[in-house]
Symmetry: C2
Subunit: 257 residues, 2 copies
């Protein structure tokens, strides 16, 4: 397949996805971003063109990948004529139907991963979830996804939303708790590094056993003395104290139903 | 050092720690547990003796490791005469002073890790935090710890408690979020396996950058539309809905101070 892609958006996801496509021989004909700095950064990485003007978006691309935040999509897309080319969004939350007013050919291409600009990613192990308005477009997206990932799935919009919610817990909230842990350690000048082996092991464990069976700690034992001491210690951080309390309670309830 | 250890407790921590000591040539003279099945299981693993009676605990051991839950420690230890041998607890939360009424020589030996019976662990990378009633005993504990770990630290009781709280967030609560994610996926028959690459990457990221800078997701962007949709979807699990809401709010507050 010799296809040319245009990227609408130049954030973390666009950076990693466009680089993965280019490394597999796909053409990236243009990068669009409202932020010139981002557009330029990515275009230079890929040795391609960029624009900050929606009206100047490349008309010749075969597929348009929309990788901007959901709330900005309509504002940008309504300025563009896609001439019924295949238009694909990369959002976990947005339904397939969000694209139907902009083209007769549309789909979803959702790589389930957390992306950062700096930390490069091996796309081959990232699950990609696709959905399209027709079997023909679905087939195209499956073929493209299979070039960069060994884990390609067709998933409808409703299930994709559920998947996204689970990812918020397993990734976004988890990372926030790493931040809380770092904040707590900082208050006593203990380096965050000492937690890293524990964090790694917590993750490794659930590659082998289901997380439900891997649960340890004072909450599941309902060790009231420890929980109370921890809550007292957290008095100086009422927000963290509140989270500690509600999550401990939830763990206890979940395991004592 | 040719030392003999007696283990009071035969849970996950006792299993992993005693095995690590034995593999480095230390003698494990006896396992005590109130639960015969656990005592027997570990004693057989180590080809040593066991007892379920506190009065029959080996008088000849050089060091006694207490690895039972905090709330049970007093009940067990008050039945034993340690003849002022070195008595060490392995708890993150209990102060050093919790041992002083049982021996003139006492300390703390706290390996910061989550232990399971089934999943064996490479102790060499686990940070061990020690504390003792005297410089002499502290030196002994440092030497022993250094045999099994490359990361040995002296830490006082107050800071150890803080460390333990941070570990509850970074390990226990994190694992619980994996469980919630699995529960949510199950409701739509999506296999938990699809989340594993995301979970691994979330952990890998913070080996390189501080978690505060690794935060992504709808909460930090305060993408109200997505958050509201997720909350609506979670209506059937009010407990998870409540957690989703309070954590999202906390993330937003933390990043918009």
């Amino acid at each position: 397949m010799s296809l040319n892609f245009c990227f609408i958006g130049a954030g973390n996801l666009a950076v990693q996805l466009s680089k993965a496509f280019q490394s597999k021989g796909f053409g990236i004909s243009q990068i669009y971003s409202r932020t010139e700095q981002s557009a330029k950064y990515l275009a230079e990485k890929l040795s391609t063109k960029y624009t900050t003007s929606a009206t100047e978006i490349d008309k010749t691309a075969d597929i348009y990948f929309v990788a901007i935040k959901d709330s900005a999509i309509d504002e940008v897309l309504k300025q563009i004529h896609f001439n019924n080319k295949l238009l694909v969004h990369c959002s976990g939350s947005l339904p397939l139907s969000a694209m139907e007013k902009y083209s007769e050919n549309f789909g979803v291409f959702y790589p389930l991963q957390t992306f950062s600009r700096v930390h490069d990613i091996n796309f081959s192990e990232i699950p990609v979830f696709v959905e399209a308005n027709s079997k023909k477009n679905e087939k195209i997206l499956i073929e493209i996804a299979s070039q960069i990932s060994g884990s390609v799935h067709v998933l409808d919009s409703d299930k994709r939303k559920t998947l996204h919610i689970s990812a918020v817990f397993a990734c976004n909230f988890v990372n926030y708790f790493y931040t809380i842990a770092a904040d707590i350690l900082k208050s006593k000048e203990i380096p965050f590094d000492v937690l890293k082996p524990l964090i790694l092991e917590t993750t490794k464990k659930i590659q082998e056993i289901v997380p439900e069976e891997a649960q340890t700690g004072p909450a599941i034992r309902f060790d009231k003395k420890i929980i109370d001491e921890h809550l007292k210690e957290l008095e100086t951080s009422p927000e963290y104290q509140q989270l500690y309390m509600s999550i401990s309670k939830s763990i206890f309830d979940r395991y004592n139903k």
